[in-house]
């Protein structure tokens, strides 16, 4: 995206959108585990997920189950991704042909079909964020982690960086989604600070990093800040 828009760092290596989506073929080349089985915590989650669908429609559970897989992988290996054997396990659990799960898992970018770093940095590069300086966020991520291109993992295995489309939080642009959490109102320095905190193993409070309450104006609400008294 950004290279077409001609941002200051747009011409840097590895910004092709193709890599951003994945290689499209099976992840045979990557270090695929030989075995996958749901652990106890996952089984509990699955049991509650499957109650939402009638037994004849349990194929609908494929998305939540893939999230369960990704969550378990994060717990167990520190890398939130969906190995191929796990897709087979999901298919068997839902009684659908494995290819139906492969299709879903490769279609949605939320599922990583290759191993990633401990934290998944998802920079929003869509127009509002871009106008508000998403390229500064990208630059901070590059400088801090040493990652050169999209979909790459830092040498220390801490971070994988990818570019995503609109995260739907434009009012607090620019956004960096770390794993499942949004960090908003970023700039270069705040991004660096965030990454350093993450590297130290801390988990900063998600949301606006400058203290805005949800999407209210900086410094607090400017309207509707008095409660009208009935009859006044």
């Amino acid at each position: 995206m950004s290279e077409h828009l001609g941002g200051p760092h747009g011409s840097q290596v590895g910004l092709g959108t193709a890599e951003n989506i994945g290689d499209g073929s099976s992840g045979e080349g990557a270090a695929q585990p030989a075995h996958f089985a749901f652990d106890e915590a996952s089984e509990a989650e699955i049991a509650s997920i499957l109650t939402k669908y009638p037994p004849s429609r349990k194929a609908s559970g494929v998305l939540p189950l893939l999230y369960v897989v990704q969550g378990q992988m994060r717990r167990q290996t520190g890398s939130a991704w969906v190995p191929r054997v796990a897709m087979d396990v999901v298919a068997a659990r839902l009684e659908v042909p494995p290819i139906r799960v492969y299709e879903v898992a490769t279609f949605y970018l939320m599922f990583n079909t290759n191993p990633i770093g401990r934290h998944h940095l998802q920079v929003c590069g869509t127009t509002p964020c871009w106008l508000r300086g998403s390229e500064e966020v990208t630059r901070a991520c590059r400088d801090e982690t040493g990652i050169k291109g999209w979909r790459q993992t830092s040498d220390d295995g801490m971070f994988t960086m990818s570019e995503v489309e609109c995260l739907g939080a434009c009012v607090n642009a620019p956004i960096l989604q770390v794993d499942d959490d949004y960090y908003e109102d970023l700039d270069y320095d705040r991004t660096v600070a965030l990454l350093q905190a993450l590297r130290r193993g801390e988990k900063p409070q998600p949301g606006s990093v400058i203290g805005r309450i949800t999407s209210a104006p900086e410094g607090g609400p400017t309207t509707l800040n008095t409660i009208p008294i009935a009859g006044e």
């Binding site: 499209g24 045979e28 492969y102």
Partner: protein, 678 residues
């Protein structure tokens, strides 16, 4: 019914039909890629856009239901412009390598680009390229040409019943394939080549061999299984280059099994192209008069009961009637066509045919398979069962070895005793079917199983004047024809087991390779008449080179009892001749000429022997008016488990055993399966 106007023509179509179907009813051809009448509607290629009055924009006619009073326009400036736009988008990522593409000349995209394509491209960027996929030894892929119509995905999951193909990734990166590299585990994979509208899925053995306009096309009938699929033989010069299905709604619709489509390279290998005579224990080439002389010398003073004849699985009815007449003139009653020893009862036609008919499967509402695995014995028929199953309300149960039939089927047990468990299910149905396979009939208690299956069919109400639910599924293309001709031991005649071990002094094998050749008596003089140097020819004392099914005009009767005829596509190799003509010539050497000199006269003789040969393609109305069952005591069924009739789908006869493609398929599919079973 809905009445609508298509380009000013008024048509009436059933409610729920699509606009595209209405246009076809009006005789207007609508271009399309993703729409296929035998698959579900995807509506993703957008090529079938038409204008519907009062609709704000062009609609995809394949996915748009008709409504009463609708006015459809298919040839307006708006429609043409819309389709041109779709075509331009389709061609953006299409390589336009028609000159080196095997689909060239029979490509939907190429054809439609003539009508809707531009003479140049406005797309200046790089085209995408997609890695080719491995789909097995039969289907070659060239995925850059894929236009994502998803026909192959729908075919494999809906018709073939193996949901192994899919579209992975998204947008620009979407790829059609299996995700994990694997050979498609279906016996119908060749049909992917036919339904692919572009050159993405291609015929691997036929790659870079010919252009469609160079080929001579001949209608024929398939002999690799007993379904009698209608085929078109494409040949150039003396060589069969490919075999394609021909549409016949009552038999194979438009599908064809892989064995039937890809075995033709076996027609070029191990052929018998001249007569051979055994001299001092070794076969040597001979002339026709020498070969005939050797047989005539042996026949001299041989009484009729010491002469036997066996008809093989690929024989046409013409050659079998000629052999039968020759044997009659020699005073022999020792005829047999049941090489596998199947206990078929030739007493009444409905004892040995598929009486429900293939199309009739779609009217049935319950089915029991006894010792039959239709997936391996007749994959196209299996697809028909699957099609019926997809419409729902069709319980399927089977007895025999546990098998993956590509659909949900209840396994009752591996012995025949378990068929009783199906009685209730069948009784609850209005039009139940029982299919008996050769795996059940070729056992010592085959006659008892046949009778037991009939008795079950009778007891559950499958045999009524309106419905005939008793079916025998054959595996040999020649079998029903042979039974119709009475190619069975006559009064006091010997069946095949009695002919072996020295039971006869002269044994005439008409393309018969599928029995234990080693069991033939050491002093029996064997005449092998056939087209391949297979098991029978190796044992023969005289070899008479005959014609394969593509090389002779032959009449075949399929498992339903449908009489069908194929035509000569290529000439037999070398000195080989049509089989009935060989027998006619030999009868003249004996001084007892058979009473026919042309193929037409042989066919008249066929009709005289059995009137069913008078009419092609037609089946009589098949109700059952006589509930009396075949001979055999249903109580004689023993408890032995049923074994499958066909283990290796790809190699079942002399032609496909000679085929390199089928050997490759065996290595890919069957060998790992057998290894896994061990």
């Amino acid at each position: 019914m809905a009445k609508l106007t298509v380009d000013g023509t008024e048509v009436e179509v059933p409610n729920g039909a699509s606009v595209l179907q209405a246009c076809e009813a009006a005789g207007v051809e609508i271009p399309r890629f993703c729409y296929h009448e035998r698959l579900s509607v995807a509506g993703n290629c957008r090529m079938c856009l038409v204008e519907v009055e009062k609709a704000p924009k062009p609609v995809a006619s394949c996915a748009y239901p008709v409504a009463d009073g609708m006015v459809v326009k298919t040839d307006t400036a708006v429609v043409r412009q819309a389709r041109r736009g779709v075509m331009e988008f389709l061609l953006i990522n299409h390589p336009l390598d028609c000159p080196i593409c095997d689909q060239g000349g029979e490509c939907d995209l190429q054809d439609q680009a003539y009508s809707y394509g531009m003479d140049h491209s406005r797309f200046a960027e790089n085209k995408r390229a997609v890695k080719d996929k491995y789909l097995g030894p039969l289907v070659k892929t060239f995925m850059t040409r894929c236009i994502h119509c998803t026909r192959c995905i729908r075919f494999s999951s809906e018709v073939a019943g193996v949901a192994e193909m899919g579209a992975t990734s998204r947008g620009e990166n979407m790829e059609v394939g299996t995700y994990i590299e694997k050979a498609l585990t279906t016996e119908l994979s060749g049909n992917l080549i036919d339904i692919c509208p572009v050159g993405a899925l291609l015929n691997k053995p036929y790659s870079f061999t010919a252009r469609p306009w160079e080929l001579r096309k001949t209608d024929s009938v398939d002999v690799h299984d007993a379904l009698g699929s209608n085929i078109r033989v494409d040949a150039r010069g003396s060589e069969v280059l490919r075999i394609l299905p021909r549409t016949n709604e009552d038999v194979n619709e438009e599908w064809l099994g892989d064995k039937s489509r890809f075995s033709h390279d076996g027609l070029k290998r191990r052929r018998l192209d001249k007569p051979w005579v055994r001299q001092d224990g070794k076969l040597r080439p001979a002339s026709w008069p020498e070969a005939f002389g050797a047989i005539a010398a042996k026949l001299k003073d041989l009484p009729g009961e010491r002469i036997g004849a066996v008809a093989g699985d690929l024989c046409d009815a013409e050659s079998m009637v000629a052999l039968k007449d020759l044997m009659a003139s020699l005073g022999s009653q020792d005829l047999d066509c049941r090489q596998d020893g199947a206990a078929l009862d030739g007493g009444r036609r409905d004892f040995y045919t598929f009486n429900t008919t293939v199309a009739g499967i779609e009217d049935a509402d319950a089915i029991l398979l006894v010792g039959s695995n239709p997936r391996r014995e007749a994959p196209v028929l299996n697809a028909r069962i699957r099609k019926r199953l997809n419409h729902g309300g069709y319980p399927v149960a089977y007895v025999g070895q546990p098998a993956d039939l590509t659909y949900a089927a209840r396994h009752l047990g591996d012995g025949v005793a378990a068929i009783e468990d199906a009685a209730e299910m069948l009784r609850g149905a209005k039009r139940p079917m029982v299919i008996v396979g050769q795996g059940a009939l070729r056992r010592p208690d085959g006659a008892a199983i046949l009778a037991a299956a009939w008795a079950l069919a009778a007891s559950v109400g499958a045999l009524t004047p309106e419905w005939h639910g008793f079916n025998v599924l054959h595996t040999a293309a020649a079998r029903v024809g042979a039974l119709d001709l009475g190619f069975l031991p006559g009064l006091g005649g010997k069946a095949l087991p009695a002919m072996l071990g020295g039971g006869v002094d002269l044994l005439w094998l008409l393309g018969a390779d599928e029995f234990d050749i080693a069991a033939i008596g050491a002093n029996t003089f064997v005449v092998y008449q056939g087209h391949h140097g297979d098991r029978g020819a190796a044992r023969a004392d005289v070899i008479l080179p005959g014609a394969a099914y593509t090389e002779k005009g032959g009449t075949y009767v399929n498992t339903e009892g449908r009489v069908q005829r194929g035509y000569v596509a290529v000439q037999p190799p070398g000195e080989a001749r049509e089989d009935w003509a060989i027998l006619r010539a030999f009868s003249a050497v004996l001084g007892k000429p058979l009473p026919y000199d042309s193929i037409q006269e042989v066919r008249d003789r066929l009709a005289a022997v059995n009137p069913v040969f008078k009419t092609l393609q037609e089946l009589p109305h098949r109700g059952c008016t006589d509930q009396a069952g075949p001979s055999g005591d249903p109580a004689g069924v023993d408890r032995e488990p049923l074994l499958p009739a066909v283990v290796n789908y790809y190699q079942t006869n002399a032609i496909n055993r000679a085929s390199a493609t089928m050997a490759e398929c065996t290595r890919t599919y069957v060998t790992p399966m057998l290894q896994a079973a061990e």
